[in-house]
């Protein structure tokens, strides 16, 4: 199928026509015509390179009652994504070539986004022995990012070894920075609100101590390091200093940490329970600044579907995590406004680079892979928890009205979303 997108604004620029044929942008310019092409009137729409998520929990295999590769892929496409990195904390854990290949194949079969599996760093996420990282790297899934996400690789010697070892195949260790002894039974950000609510605190220092340590380890062995879901102002300062002296560290932040604070906890509604927890307004301000000035490289969703039973309960008994794929772009627009180049960099180009996804994060110019998304920037949409493509409904943004609506998403020239609806 050939598509001719008429009059779209590339990253907010002048109206342009894009001809998508054979998986690539065949032509870009004004007055483009093509016989037999399906024409899409994109007047008023903005084209972005297809979004890339560094941090998605698809739950399959093991918790298909919360999400499957297919339902998560659909949510991703509807959110404007063309690639997602699927985290390893499935059941069984994605700690072998067999499991990462299974996830990769499920992604191919769903065909709505490129599903790039993340491999576990340690066997069973237990933090004791390295998983067969090389086997995962050379598998069909070609794993490049390794993470025990959900758990911290807290043993400093094991973390050092992992950082060193993955250099053999250009891998990156993505750390879920959480000092486990400082966060035993932790329920929310430790501060004035946790004191009032009588919920065990998750102190900022538990994140910052691990980031500081790992930055030093990465510096010592000369390895690359990625930090998942940075949530505190102190973490930003550690990263800023590390980057300034040339440490090869990258970092991501979630949409929810850019918009919401621990004030949300006061209802005790576990839809706001997440790990790391929602922080203070000062942290939110520091994270926004870090996204703007590049200390934080990427916005990543940490899309974490959970069943109703795991959320409609007492706060302490609820699982941590929030949906994110369908709301990430609207939240970014809400926070940063129509800074299209910034949004393209943090939500597409940088994550594609970090994940080694060469076909993604490319400006939609002639000859480039046709992975792109079309956004209506003037639309304002009220988030409906019951209308998510995800199998779960644990969005913290329910009933909020956010700017921007994804009208179409193209994966290698084929629409995965058209008129705001998934193609399958």
């Amino acid at each position: 199928m050939t598509f001719l997108i008429k009059g779209v604004s590339l990253l907010g620029g002048e109206p342009t026509d894009l001809l998508l044929r054979d998986g690539v942008v065949a032509e870009a310019g004004t007055g483009v015509s093509a016989a037999g092409a399906q024409v899409i009137d994109a007047d008023g729409l903005v084209a972005l390179p297809g979004l890339v998520d560094l941090h998605t929990h698809l739950r399959e295999p093991g918790r298909e009652d919360a999400e499957t590769v297919e339902t998560g892929s659909r949510a991703a496409a509807l959110g404007g994504y063309t690639a997602v990195c699927a985290m390893a904390n499935t059941e069984p854990v994605a700690d072998t070539a067999g499991v990462v290949e299974q996830v990769w194949r499920l992604g191919r079969r769903a065909g709505l986004v490129d599903v790039q599996p993340v491999g576990a760093v340690t066997v069973g996420l237990r933090g004791e022995h390295l998983a067969e990282l090389g086997a995962m790297a050379t598998s069909a899934a070609a794993v490049r990012i390794f993470s025990d996400d959900g758990h911290c690789v807290s043993d400093p010697r094991l973390m050092r070894r992992a950082l060193e070892y993955v250099q053999a195949f250009d891998g990156t260790v993505a750390q879920h920075a959480e000092e486990p002894r400082l966060t035993e039974n932790a329920q929310m950000h430790e501060g004035e609100i946790s004191a009032r609510l009588g919920l065990t605190g998750w102190p900022a220092v538990a994140e910052e101590a691990i980031i500081a340590r790992d930055v030093l380890l990465a510096e010592h062995v000369g390895a690359r390091l990625h930090i998942c879901h940075v949530s505190t102002a102190g973490s930003v300062e550690i990263l800023r200093a590390a980057k300034a002296r040339g440490v090869r560290v990258s970092a991501e932040v979630t949409p929810h940490h850019l918009l919401l604070t621990d004030e949300r906890t006061t209802t005790y509604d576990p839809v706001f329970k997440v790990n790391p927890p929602l922080r203070t307004g000062a942290d939110v301000a520091a994270l926004r600044q870090a996204v703007a000035d590049g200390v934080i490289d990427a916005i990543a969703t940490d899309h974490a579907p959970h069943t109703v039973e795991d959320k409609e309960c007492e706060w302490a008994y609820a699982r941590p995590g929030m949906l994110g794929l369908q709301t990430a772009l609207p939240v970014a627009l809400e926070v940063f406004g129509q800074q299209w180049d910034l949004i393209a960099e943090r939500m597409s180009r940088a994550p594609a680079r970090l994940a080694g996804l060469d076909g993604h994060g490319r400006h939609p110019a002639t000859g480039e892979p046709a992975n792109l998304t079309l956004v209506d920037p003037t639309a304002r949409v009220s988030v409906d928890a019951t209308a998510q493509a995800s199998r779960s409904r644990n969005t913290p943004f329910a009933r909020m009205t956010l700017p921007g609506r994804v009208v179409a998403t193209f994966l290698r020239g084929e629409p995965t979303v058209l008129d705001g609806k998934a193609s399958r």
Partner: protein
């Protein structure tokens, strides 16, 4: 008053005073030969207890019965609750039973708030995790007022495991509302990060606080806290923060000693202190019934009708 009593902060000064005044009237009823009032006849009060707390459950049960309410005890042991039924499903059951009030004790902070979203009746927090225990604070305030004649301007020292204490949280909020001045006394490990935002002073030095205190409230300290390195040993804790006879004698002559119970004699309080005339421990139990009658009365049958 609002429909629920989830936090001591739900009450403003007038409402809290109304509870205490109503409790005083209820106490007169308790002194009469026929101890029952017909006020809540035909109304159903459910005691939903996820934690064992015989004394609190019995206190609420006695309060409801003296107001002629039908009482259903729904305890965790031997019920569907123990078999893993979710709080939400239990709430729907209570809703179907037509509960007019649910008194809930739960190990998880905020469980009463969740319940209040799912039932139409009034929810009364009878202690949730390490959050609050508002009727305990009301009975403590009642006891202080009965003994000392006022609350405004009183200096109240709350001593012990503030970090894990729902009694401390509710007392700080209510006493502040009623014009008393609270000082929290604890080792730094047992004060929460963020306590600076509370309407209370803090001190690590019990001996410095006692001479100017009108009320000393001793909190229970669980031995297990020692294993988590909140303090090195029971002996060191009681030497620094326990209330023994010598410390009690530092108090002004009129000062009273309170404890929400159950107390650990020899840990936070010496037997000599617990049994002294300053101690209000048994009055607190008696006053608990009157105060809970007042709360049920005001939430279910009182001013709103």
């Amino acid at each position: 008053m609002s429909r629920h009593l989830l936090s001591a902060a739900d009450l403003d000064a007038d409402e809290a005073t109304a509870v205490l005044d109503t409790a005083a009237e209820m106490a007169n009823v308790a002194g009469r030969e026929v101890k029952k009032l017909p006020t809540l006849r035909g109304r159903t009060v459910v005691n939903l207890f996820y934690e064992d707390s015989t004394r609190t459950r019995i206190s609420f049960e006695a309060a409801a019965k003296r107001l002629s309410a039908d009482v259903i005890n729904f305890s965790a042991k031997g019920s569907s609750v123990a078999k893993g039924e979710s709080l939400k499903d239990t709430a729907l059951t209570l809703q179907a039973m037509g509960a007019d009030a649910v008194v809930i004790r739960h190990g998880a902070s905020g469980a009463p708030h969740r319940l209040a979203d799912w039932v139409d009746g009034s929810v009364i927090n009878a202690g949730d995790g390490t959050h609050e225990h508002p009727t305990q604070a009301l009975l403590d305030a009642y006891t202080m007022r009965a003994r000392l004649g006022r609350l405004a301007g009183l200096k109240v020292a709350i001593v012990g495991d503030v970090l894990h204490s729902r009694v401390a949280r509710s007392n700080v909020l209510l006493l502040h509302t009623l014009g008393a001045h609270v000082t929290l006394v604890a080792p730094p490990t047992l004060l929460p990060v963020g306590v600076g935002a509370w309407p209370a002073d803090t001190s690590f030095d019990l001996d410095a606080v006692l001479p100017s205190s009108d009320v000393v409230m001793m909190l229970r300290v669980q031995r297990e806290r020692m294993g988590d390195s909140f303090f090195p040993s029971v002996r060191e804790y009681s030497r620094r923060y326990g209330l023994d006879g010598a410390r009690m004698r530092q108090l002004p002559a009129h000062a009273i000693v309170m404890h929400p119970g159950p107390m650990i004699r020899g840990m936070e309080i010496a037997p000599e202190v617990a049994d002294s005339p300053r101690s209000t421990i048994t009055e607190q139990v008696t006053n608990g019934v009157s105060v809970r009658m007042a709360v049920l009365y005001l939430l279910l049958g009182g001013m709103n009708q």
